[in-house]
Symmetry: C3
Subunit: 290 residues, 3 copies
Amino acid sequence: MKHLLDTDSLSDDEILEIFEEAKKFLNGKQSKVLQDKLIVTLFFENSTRTRSSFEVAAKRLGAKIVHLDIAKSSTKKGETLKDTAKNLAIMGPDAIIVRHKHSGTPELLSKMIDTPILNAGDGAHAHPTQALLDLFTIMQYFDDVRGKKIAIVGDIKNSRVANSNIKLLSRFGLEVILVAPPHFLPFTKLRTAYYLSEVINEVDIIMSLRTQTERHDKPIYASLKDYANDYCITKELLGDRDIILLHPGPVHRNIDIDDAMMGDKRCKVLEQVKNGVAVRMAVLQKCVLG
Amino acid sequence: MKHLLDTDSLSDDEILEIFEEAKKFLNGKQSKVLQDKLIVTLFFENSTRTRSSFEVAAKRLGAKIVHLDIAKSSTKKGETLKDTAKNLAIMGPDAIIVRHKHSGTPELLSKMIDTPILNAGDGAHAHPTQALLDLFTIMQYFDDVRGKKIAIVGDIKNSRVANSNIKLLSRFGLEVILVAPPHFLPFTKLRTAYYLSEVINEVDIIMSLRTQTERHDKPIYASLKDYANDYCITKELLGDRDIILLHPGPVHRNIDIDDAMMGDKRCKVLEQVKNGVAVRMAVLQKCVLG
Amino acid sequence: MKHLLDTDSLSDDEILEIFEEAKKFLNGKQSKVLQDKLIVTLFFENSTRTRSSFEVAAKRLGAKIVHLDIAKSSTKKGETLKDTAKNLAIMGPDAIIVRHKHSGTPELLSKMIDTPILNAGDGAHAHPTQALLDLFTIMQYFDDVRGKKIAIVGDIKNSRVANSNIKLLSRFGLEVILVAPPHFLPFTKLRTAYYLSEVINEVDIIMSLRTQTERHDKPIYASLKDYANDYCITKELLGDRDIILLHPGPVHRNIDIDDAMMGDKRCKVLEQVKNGVAVRMAVLQKCVLG
């Protein structure tokens, strides 16, 4: 593994090894293993959350970061993606963390240059570190994840988080059920449901997705409130069932998840954020040092 | 003291202790005491000046900085302040430096999370490190500040700088006189004057405030020039009186202070900036290391 | 040499000394010689490329960087350039890297403050580190550069890159020929030509300039395509001549240089970027440490 384009870039063993390292970092392991390394963030889309998680991870390991804010940059001056990439790579960074609104951009970059590329989200395609931290979080709560059932709820079709999780969680033996209105469902062989109530008695985990209102040109629901009526994860809905609740953040309160569930112990959103830094430390260590 | 929300967070002894440290830094003391510490700046308002002063201070002590530019961030995606704060805190920074246009935001944050919060300015409420550096600067010029008279001049009502200074300087025994047109005066028990000429023969210190044109929805003066006619600190006005002149910056030349006074030895604006870095180093050291 | 305002700031010996250092950095020399140094970037114009090259150079040497994004800053609040400079200098940075759209700004700053100023491009006046890296790149390909002929092609009149190169390359004994339509030519004693075909059989080096469409208020060519018809550097035009091709980047493909030449071994654009980091490391080292 050199690049992290999708979770497919990693074997099962490599993933478990990353998780072992992440656990050590969570338990307070200090390491300056990336001292003297230079990591570039190349974000064609804004993402305070993912970018700062990567930045905290890199800096905890001693790396230096150079941010390229592409919205203001050379790509606006008629430079091609390939030229931007080659110009960047020749400066000798030890890794490039990329986010782009078009699926496949990180893979394209990885074919143009030798520098390790870490995908921080590309279009509706993949968000591998998110899926890794989600699986890591699930594994903290179940001794054996094989056979566990997870409902992914929301705008699955347009979600790179859902896409990466479907692949990764299925591979580790979880049964993934997609819960969404028809226009939010991808073509799939997976089991699907229109309402969470249809499967709530079976599932061990619920992953609520962000209502990506900014990704749709036209409103699909009459209003967010209409969407929330059907898909908001409420404490009323969960009752006292033994289910853990995940969400990639930022949470639309009372649209994605209601206030009562946000304050409930079963909601693991903050654990995900915490685990995200640790998993990204382990991923950066692996990508940069090989 | 864990958070620095207002100067009230600090006892007199703690303030004097901070000043002792700041003096050492001014005298060239090198210290990497915050090596391996991670400090987040969370600015909901732009502030090149204050942010860069904190950044220089933190980096001189060896800390790493992660900037969260909230204008582009999750809060725009429907996340609440509380969720932003909790998401940030769980990543484990050693301190968070906050600026917000609403009074009380840093205090709110300090109740939500355990991370030390440093207030870098909240609405018209407080700007504690500014008041500390102002008192520190005054103390450089007077062996005993008790009984010294300071005129604070300008839009006092809307100024967090004035607000923090009124509290801090009064506490250290200075007599504060507020000089402003009626609509710029707060309700106060302090002595007030409409024109500086009324008190110029008594005062030891003048603190000119920035004309905060961007904070008023409607113009209050017909023009800045009309304001300047009455409130610009001119060399003509000061004559050869033994008075030191302060201003939090950036100075509107010939509106707040005229060119002649800006070039005069009695003007301590640059000393304030220099002292600001040293005081913030001492404050960061205290907040982060306890 | 304290400031780097133009290449005139440097003697021939100093330039060759900088190149010797740059070569060592290219050959893998590691040095933390700027550890504990603080360098400020003060960019009044956006420039991802130059700024990130300086940032990578500074961080490789162990320096800390504070970026001042002036577009959002105090200058918008009515502060003069002089006050901004003095406020910055008093915070004690070890160097300030400046870009400004007005010619002469770095020189002005150098007269106002004591901090070393590095010019990262000012108006149409100068871009000294670009000229240095260009000469350095040329020297990699010729044992003796004296008497070598270089054609500079494009909007020379408005180009600080051309301006700095004309002075520096002439000084090191190269013959500079300016190739441009009349309205892109400055008043000059240098040899000029309207079309590259007139001099192509004589030259050893071609330097293509960026079509600075954003610097002209009115379009000068009917279209970029019309310009490209006359001035794009094509493989067809160069044939198999032994000529090296330079460009300061970012390249407008098929306007400045065609795809075939961009992929040709004679095109040294990426070498320039690579050399740029090494040359800037050497320049920073010299300016900061004296």
